[in-house]
């Protein structure tokens, strides 16, 4: 009977493998394939967690470099608790933001300083304004960017360190920048990281690679703030199910023992 079950499971697994191979097509199909380096992330694997130091450094990079153009509108200041900040620190961070609120009793919108319950204030009021200020290109909201690109974390890190001189015969359009890992290699965003763009509070050397790694870790958290809780729950669930399924199997054998 174990053989029977094993056959069924094996057949299902083979089929599943074939399906997932078939399904994995779109990622490969998207444009001419650009290989980008695979990085060993603190948050990869079933037990991976976000490195708290990297999260705080990444937040610093986002705040100082990216937030001028890129929104992070699904993250609230209160969420920064996950990064290891305390209530007063979060209040201070939120208070630096100017939030448009209202209308007041006179029907006017007004500005107030942010509170932890506010979501990150976007640099532009809407997409049209963002495009107008950036020569027609839209700097995307970064809240979900790691989930919204195939192999998002590795892709993002590669993109951030991928500003190199174009090959001699490359025809770069005016106002565009060459990037080794961007699809088509022409990107509107100018090189954002040059090294030592911020001074990390914890004294870590702010190389381009370090900043790219930390920023990516921060944005991976922003995209999946539930990840650590999810993996913890997953480990518990699977352990429980293994025990429970084992018991079910033993019970099943007992019950079926008298069937001839």
């Amino acid at each position: 009977m174990i053989a029977r079950l094993t056959t069924t499971i094996a057949a299902v697994a083979v089929a599943a493998g074939a399906w997932s191979f078939a399904v994995s097509g779109p990622a490969q199909a998207a444009g001419p394939a650009i290989e980008y380096p695979q990085h060993d992330w603190s948050f990869s694997g079933p037990f991976g967690t976000f490195d708290r130091g990297a999260l705080q450094r990444g937040f610093q990079v986002y705040k100082n470099i990216c937030s001028g153009c890129h929104a992070l509108s699904y993250v609230a200041y209160r969420n920064l608790e996950d990064l290891g900040y305390n209530e007063d620190e979060i209040k201070a961070i939120a208070a630096q933001a100017l939030v448009v609120d209202g209308p007041n009793d006179d029907g006017e919108m007004f500005e107030r300083s942010g509170i932890p319950a506010d979501r990150f204030v976007s640099p532009f009021p809407n997409e049209k304004a963002a495009r107008a200020a950036n020569g027609g290109a839209y700097p995307p909201d970064l809240s979900l960017i790691v989930k919204a690109r195939p192999d998002g974390a590795n892709y993002l890190r590669a993109l951030l360190v991928g500003y190199v001189d174009p090959p001699a015969d490359f025809n770069l359009m005016p106002g565009m920048n060459y990037n080794a890992y961007f699809s088509g290699h022409q990107i509107a965003m100018a090189q954002p990281l040059w090294g030592d763009d911020v001074t990390f509070e914890d004294g870590t050397a702010a190389t381009i690679e370090q900043q790219a790694e930390d920023l990516t870790t921060f944005l991976a958290w922003a995209a999946e703030p539930e990840m650590e809780e999810r993996k913890r729950a997953g480990v518990m669930t699977i352990l429980f199910l293994l025990v429970f399924t084992g018991l079910l199997y033993a019970t099943k054998r007992k019950i079926w023992a008298d069937v001839h």
Partner: protein, 176 residues
């Protein structure tokens, strides 16, 4: 015969264990589906608000929104405070001293929902009718509240409730 008996008890034991473990699992699964109906994180984040009472000029009032309800913050004049203190407790339907209702006597903070049937009483703006007791007047069924927000006349059974709040600095209160 003995063997069969032993087999039966082993089977029973397995069945009971499996059922018990399954019940634990089912309970664990049920919890997320119950808890999802509780207030979400963004709702809870607004469950307490902070407000600087010094922004309210003397003799005026503002209405805040807290947990979806109006909260009245009135900067009372010395005359209003005096009126509130002079009322003998045995004249009150819901006896409470003014000191019990305001941490700092100048600033009265309370939920602006009539305790009769939930209307919002008038009296916040200068031009509003303030009722017969220089406080608030509920237009729905004519409840009169005094300058301490206590029920004095009309169908409402209780005073306007004072929310849980504290001064986190000299002038900033945290409600909730």
């Amino acid at each position: 015969m003995a063997e069969t008996h032993e087999g039966d008890s082993r089977r029973d034991f397995l069945m009971i264990t499996t059922t018990a473990v399954g019940a634990v699992g089912a309970a664990c699964v049920a919890w997320p589906f119950i808890d999802q109906m509780n207030p979400a994180a963004d709702t809870l984040a607004l469950a307490s608000i902070e407000f600087d009472v010094s922004t309210v000029p003397e003799g005026q009032a503002v209405t805040l929104t807290w947990r979806g309800k109006p909260v009245f913050v009135r900067h009372r004049t010395p005359k209003e405070i005096e009126e509130a203190r002079e009322v003998p407790l045995d004249e009150l339907r819901d006896p409470q001293t003014d000191a019990e209702r305001a941490i700092k006597p100048e600033y009265l903070v309370m939920v602006g929902v009539c305790t009769h049937l939930g209307c919002v009483p008038l009296g916040q703006s200068v031009s509003d009718p303030k009722g017969d007791y220089d406080g608030w007047f509920c237009p729905c069924h004519g409840s009169h509240y005094d300058s301490s927000g206590r029920i004095r006349r009309g169908p409402a059974p209780l005073n306007l409730p004072v929310p849980e709040y504290q001064y986190i600095s000299d002038t900033v209160i945290r409600i909730g």
